[in-house]
Symmetry: none
Subunit: 175 residues, 4 copies
DNA sequence: AAGTAATCGAGACGGTACGTCAAGTCTTCCT
DNA sequence: AGGAAGACTTGACGTACCGTCTCGATTACTT
């Protein structure tokens, strides 16, 4: 859809402030009314753009080695959030979620919840094959690993290189 | 300053979208021009409000026990970010930082950098008194602990109870 | 158009200083943006209001008697300028023309030039039917007669009664 | 006074819209408060500037020949109004007088009335020495001659060359 | 000569209006 | 019927001046 592309491009070229309904309409050669017919707001458009582009960025855990799965997953997560176009959309939506509870709700249901499932997958897999004990707090483990990545992306703005994510995994496994 | 209070109140009452220069001016009984004379934007006002209100929310580490220092610090951080008024300002600015590089730069210099110093303090203290070895990667350690807190606050929106922060500390110390 | 009426009314009620775009918009129950879409300035609005209202204030010369034509025309001119609503608009624009060359240019093309044609008409008619000789300087004659009327209206502010205009005509014809 | 000069210069350089109290203060290196201490408005300043500069522009009638007196006076009037700096101030005030009754009143008392006395002088002189009969309507005569000059200056914007003013005098004397 | 008042520059203040931008709603006209 | 076009009301933007108001710092006049 031209509208989604236009929104994406505007975000990349002019930042979030440049993503206006009018600019999207002008760039997509579409009437504003058409946009309002199909989407309720510009964040709605960005959510759809994110859904369309984010699919398939993450690979399923191989499921034979927790360390390997975690290292690969965290690297992918870091790269997705800090280097890809949908990652930029995702950051913009995370930002907007701080301002608007409705955006926050949708951000959680559309992005955070499924992403968290992917974050848990390596641990779930490890438990199921006995590499981790039955009672492991998988949620806590996932948050421990993933939290510092989001912290760098959203708070400090520092790069998130593989050395950093690998170090996180190493620390976790050394427990 | 009435302007800072007005901005704070508007943020609390109407959310970030309700924080407009006109609304601030009206509520603070001040002319718009006066606001523009002293601040460059509404985020500028919020930064100043944050600076004014955030002072003194954190206590210095006692410096005799790493576990205790960390537990207390993480609890304070979680409470500050998720339950206080300046915490709300902070979250709003973190959100805006995702949309605007200048806000991001100022957010880092005004909030993140000094806050990170406070986050590191327990570890630095522990190293200096020998509770942790000389070569300890203090930055990594701090990020590991505060990362999941910010993750809950900014991404998942889940509450951040003492049990959660304590568990993070326990996991760290169990290494 | 409600906008033109509003502008007219404001000029009559509050004077030229009361004719602001905001006041026009408020009184016409119209958004400022709508005004800016169709007019470039408040004088632009007044010009259009003048064009709309001024039409038909002057009767064509009967064309059988120079004295009668002149007397009637000067009385009409005096009444128009000093007693009618569009006359007030006209005076305001003449005033603004002293401050702004663009307004001056438009005032001349929109009002002065066609009005001068009407001023010349009695003389042209008199020449064509032989009441005045061929070589008569019609422009000079017209300026001689209307000049004192504008002088009273714009400079001295004295009333311009029929006795005055008739005396001007008598003097002219007595040549 | 630097303020009067500044107002004059601004009128010449930027037009009436450029004559603001702030601009005058800035250019005259004077505080706004100082201006408000001595003048009530920008037109007040212009009136004083006019009074200061206009003095001595007109020569008294020689008083021996009506035709010569009138020709010289009308030429001076035309030149004053259309070519001099105080003439520009005068035109600006005449314009503002169309918008503001207080300015109009002052314009009449400060400029029009004394000027009209000068306009009448040649006729008064001619009557007193018997060149014109006792009952001559001196006011009407003055308005007849002076009116077309103001008409050109304020309404049509045409130049007012000596040929034009001389022709007016010739027509008058030919009666 | 010192003390005191008037005057000055500088510029902050509460306001009004400016002209612009984008929001979201609506109507019209074309395919 | 759906979409492009675009007019509409609304409301916030950031700016320019308005006229009022403190501030020190000169001045210049008293005593």
């Amino acid at each position: 859809m031209a509208v989604l592309e236009a929104a994406d491009d505007l975000l990349a070229e002019r930042g979030f402030a440049g993503v206006t309904i009018e600019a999207i309409a002008a760039r997509a050669q579409v009437a504003k009314q058409t946009i309002y017919r199909w989407w309720t707001s510009k964040t709605d458009i960005l959510f759809e753009a994110l859904a369309q582009d984010a699919a398939g960025y993450f690979t399923a855990p191989a499921g034979d080695d927790l360390g390997g799965d975690l290292r690969r997953h965290l690297r992918e997560l870091a790269a997705f959030l800090s280097e890809t176009d949908p990652g930029a959309v995702c950051r913009a939506l995370a930002g907007q979620a701080q301002h608007d509870p409705e955006v926050a709700a949708r951000f959680r249901s559309d992005f955070v919840t499924p992403q968290r499932e992917r974050d848990r997958a390596p641990f779930v897999s490890a438990v199921s094959r006995g590499e981790l004990p039955e009672g492991t707090d998988v949620d806590l483990a996932a948050e421990q690993l993933v939290g510092p990545v989001y912290y760098r992306v959203l708070v400090t703005g520092e790069p998130v290189p593989p050395e950093f994510t690998d170090a996180l995994v190493d620390r976790y496994l050394a427990r």
